[in-house]
């Protein structure tokens, strides 16, 4: 502890935490930009990174919705699915409004157009759901969004004539690159760019007056509206905004970026619980914390598939091998759940947010955690002392 304090004051005295933080952030971004050029890395690792970026978008937008605006929605994955499914169906089947005389054939729609439409539909559904949710609070809101999400999943699973059922739906590829290595490289940069753009957009919202209104709403809706905050508008706004972000991310990711088809299994409550767990571990009230939490958790969960412990001193196991190999299977998720529960109980701000906060130099969390409510008598005594 003393050592930490000395390092802290040394940093404060020289370059300052904030500048150090920016420098480190810059290094991290540089690393991510350089990474695909490392030829020693397999395409598999790149794929893990790509899906890491995708989940970082999902978790950080959930953090904005739940952590900052206080709307505990479990329907986040459903909006992602709406974006992906709508884009896919639209690019495959086109759309006809017989009454209006408009007919869009699949040939006339580019994959970018399909993604845009998927995003808009996700936002429109977010508008309706957000409006319906106005009457509901906390547990009821969570239950309603679970019901919505499950209904959507069941519909996608059952209407297999259109959606492909449990086989999933493949979206029209966004990129037409024959060479796998090059394709991976482009996909990697595309997803990384999307993550950066989404984070910047959300950061902008969270640090504008709207962000402050959202936090005020989270703390106390009645008080916020008595202070002139249009609660209804901002609640719906944040729902539409986050729905569009995840809809966009879903539509792009499943356009052959992650080499995956969108399947109804992705929309299960369990997948949603992963998103929540990433955000909780990273720090529910910090966009960057949640994004980093998602990326790191995802990477670790991949890396922990097989734990190899090499025995020291030339010892060997009975079967003659010198390393102990553990197929972790579901245990890594069990451990992950345990980490989540203890984080919630003892590190309310997550494991990464406090670190980010330290670099910001504001010590908000530290201050918030140690702040203890004083009694009126103490305050009055202080006032007497000071005259």
């Amino acid at each position: 502890m003393a050592l930490f304090k000395r390092i802290e004051s040394a940093i404060d005295g020289s370059i300052g935490r904030r500048r150090l933080g920016y420098a480190l952030l810059g290094l991290v971004i540089l690393f991510f930009l350089w990474f695909p050029n490392d030829t020693s890395q397999s395409n598999y690792v790149k794929t893990v990174f790509i899906s890491g970026f995708f989940y970082a978008i999902l978790s950080s937008s959930w953090a904005l919705l739940a952590g900052i605006a206080g709307q505990f929605s479990f329907g986040h994955m459903a909006f992602m699915g709406i974006g992906a499914y709508v884009a896919g169906l639209f690019a495959r089947d086109g759309i006809t409004f017989a009454a209006l005389g408009i007919a869009l054939t699949p040939e006339s729609i580019s994959s970018v157009g399909a993604i845009v439409i998927g995003t808009i539909v996700a936002g429109a559904v977010g508008l309706v759901i957000g409006w319906l949710l106005l009457r509901l609070r906390s547990a009821y809101l969570a239950l309603f969004t679970i019901a919505f999400s499950e209904l959507f999943r069941i519909a996608m699973l059952t209407e297999y004539d259109y959606t492909g059922g449990s086989n999933g739906l493949s979206l029209r590829p966004l990129l037409q690159v024959a060479d796998v290595d090059t394709a991976r490289q482009i996909e990697y940069y595309l997803m990384f760019a999307l993550l950066i753009v989404c984070l910047l957009l959300m950061y902008r919202v969270a640090h504008s007056p709207i962000g402050m209104f959202l936090r005020a709403m989270r703390e106390d809706e009645d008080a916020a509206s008595a202070l002139g905050v249009n609660v209804v508008r901002y609640k719906i706004l944040i729902f539409v905004f986050t729905s569009m972000i995840v809809g966009l991310a879903g539509a792009i990711f499943y356009s052959d970026i992650g080499s995956e088809r969108i399947i109804p299994e992705q929309l299960e409550v369990l997948q949603m619980s992963l998103i929540i767990a990433y955000a909780v571990i990273g720090g529910m009230e910090s966009l960057l914390g949640a994004a980093a939490g998602a990326f790191i958790s995802r990477y670790l969960l991949e890396a922990m598939r097989e734990v190899v412990i090499t025995l020291p001193l030339g010892l060997t196991l009975p079967d003659g091998s010198d390393a102990f190999v553990w197929e972790t299977g579901a245990w890594r998720f069990a451990l992950f759940g345990l980490v989540m529960v203890f984080t919630l109980r003892y590190m309310r701000n997550g494991l990464l947010y406090p670190i980010l906060d330290w670099f910001s130099g504001r010590d908000l969390i530290m201050q918030e955690t140690v702040s203890i409510r004083k009694s009126d008598d103490d305050v009055a005594a202080d006032m007497e002392d000071s005259g």
Binding site: G70, S138, I154, S273, F333
Partner: protein
């Protein structure tokens, strides 16, 4: 355990009349505890006792005994069901399938419902009328009778009683069924009277499975009524209850086989108390470690913490189970086997032939377990000191604390008991369903539907809600024009009800009104 399948005869000749007699004797006793003006006509009670006892046995008698106001509603409901069915049958024969009726149902109905739900409550406020339940009635009315609802409610702004809701609701139900019947005249659920048995079969399946659903939902509602939180680990506790029973039976049977040197199997009934005890302890430990700090004021944003922490707990249980038990479906042996006598031979089967209706014996058995446990819980809550303490805490924490009840212990007890009920329903169902670690996710969705429908915090509400959800699922799945899709949409039917109840009447059927 082998049971002789003479049950249908036995019921008609012995058990039915016996329960009818019990009902005849018990129900009029209700008047003893009531004030003069609350007394119900004795004849009505006697008839309810006889019919309830004969038709539903202990369920009928027990339900009417604990909740006498259900007598009238059940009578109305039965009348409505018969009317709906008969009138639709007549209409099917007269009216050809047509598109306008479908359009009315899917477009005009919801549109008028939305219009009525938007404007009529405003009108009530404008003329300063009592606007309780007006939103629900307006929406139901708009759906059922379209613009006519404005004529009924706009000018006179009548006070909305339960009768209004029942009449409008059943009109809506009548329309759904009739339009469905007219446009699908060949559907199995419609082409009666030939297939009345099919409908009855589906309904009976629904009632049986619904009563089992209830047990789990009751646990959820108990936790909510005392602690004010919804447990998101409930499904996983249900799942793990099944596995505890499974492993106990497996290891127990192996142990006994080794001991005696012969092949021994244990009836899955014994797994239920084992699962109950283990999960009770688990629930209590979790409550002490993670939920108690919440009530001690150590946690901010309590309601959200409660959602996440129980959710995380469920996540942990689910994956730990997956790691230990693997993803392969497991199942224990049966509760009972049924020996059926036919003219030709005697055979061992797994279902009762209840007249023309077949019901799987284990399901009936599980239903009986569920109902016995629910009534045991009701008895515990209403007649024992600890149970009364729980109820007192649920109504007013401070007053309960003043009366010498320790709210901390009551919180722990409620969570442990609620979790235990989930585990017991799991242990009661593992002989029936293939058990995988994610079996809880589907089931818990259902119990949320049940508790919200019945009213969060109401035990009889959970029982009735469970049976309604069971019936809706069975009929929805059984009557869907495409049977394979019907089965896949099974959960969806309940979820639609759920969304509607949350939006129109969040207090549910039996919930406490909050003002």
């Amino acid at each position: 355990m082998v049971i002789e399948d003479t049950l249908f005869i036995l019921w008609l000749m012995v058990a039915g009349p016996l329960w009818a007699a019990v009902g005849l004797y018990l129900l009029p006793n209700l008047n003893h505890n009531r004030s003069e003006k609350d007394q119900l006509p004795v004849t009505q009670l006697q008839i309810a006792g006889v019919i309830g006892g004969f038709a539903l046995g202990p369920i009928g008698v027990g339900l009417f005994y604990f909740e006498p106001h259900l007598i009238r509603r059940t009578t109305i409901a039965a009348g409505i069901i018969v009317t709906v069915f008969v009138s639709s049958q007549v209409l099917v024969r007269v009216v050809e399938p047509n598109l306008p009726s479908v359009l009315w149902l899917v477009l005009a109905g919801p549109l008028w419902a939305a219009l009525a739900a938007y404007f009529i409550p405003r009108q009530y406020r404008m003329v300063e009328a009592d606007d309780q339940n007006v939103l629900t009635a307006a929406a139901l009315g708009g759906f059922a009778i379209g613009p006519l609802i404005f004529g009924l409610m706009w000018k006179h702004t009548p006070k909305i009683s339960r009768d209004w809701m029942i009449i409008l609701g059943s009109l809506g139900a009548w329309q759904i069924y009739t339009v469905f019947a007219i446009n699908n005249p060949d559907n199995l659920c419609v082409a009666a009277p030939f297939h009345v048995t099919y409908l009855t079969q589906q309904t009976a399946n629904g009632v049986v499975i619904g009563a089992i659903y209830s047990l789990m939902a009751v646990g959820l509602t108990l936790i909510y009524s005392v602690q004010g939180i919804v447990s998101f680990a409930h499904g996983q506790l249900y799942m793990v209850g099944g596995y505890f029973s499974f492993y106990f039976l497996m290891f127990g049977a192996n142990f006994l086989s080794d001991l005696t040197g012969t092949e021994v199997t244990i009836n899955p009934l014994w797994g239920i108390p084992v699962a109950a005890v283990i999960v009770f302890v688990m629930g209590a430990a979790f409550e002490r470690a993670f939920l108690k700090p919440m009530h001690d004021g150590l946690i901010e944003r309590v309601s959200e913490y409660a959602i996440l922490i129980t959710f995380g707990f469920g996540f942990f249980i689910e994956y730990t189970t997956l790691a230990i038990a693997g993803p392969f479906p497991q199942r224990t042996g049966r509760f009972i086997e049924i020996r059926r006598f036919t003219l030709q031979r005697t055979q061992i089967t797994d279902d009762f032939a209840f007249g023309p209706i077949n019901i799987i014996g284990d399901r009936v058995f599980a239903m009986i377990i569920g109902i016995v446990l629910i009534f045991a819980l009701l008895y515990f809550l209403q007649r024992t000191w600890t149970g009364r303490g729980l109820r007192a805490t649920s109504q007013d924490k401070q007053a309960a604390a003043v009366a010498g009840i320790n709210p901390t212990n009551m919180n722990t007890l409620s969570f442990a008991l609620g979790s235990m009920l989930a585990a017991m329903s799991g242990a009661a169902l593992i002989p029936i369903f293939a058990w995988v670690p994610w079996v809880g996710a589907e089931m818990v969705g259902r119990s949320y539907v049940i508790v919200v429908l019945g009213g969060l915090g109401s035990v009889p509400g959970a029982l009735v809600g469970g049976i309604i959800v069971g019936i809706v699922e069975a009929l929805g799945a059984g009557c869907h024009p495409d049977p394979s899709k019907g089965a896949a949409y099974k959960e969806a039917f309940a979820l639609v009800i759920f969304a509607l109840v949350l939006l129109l009447k969040p207090t549910g059927l039996f919930g406490r009104e909050q003002h």
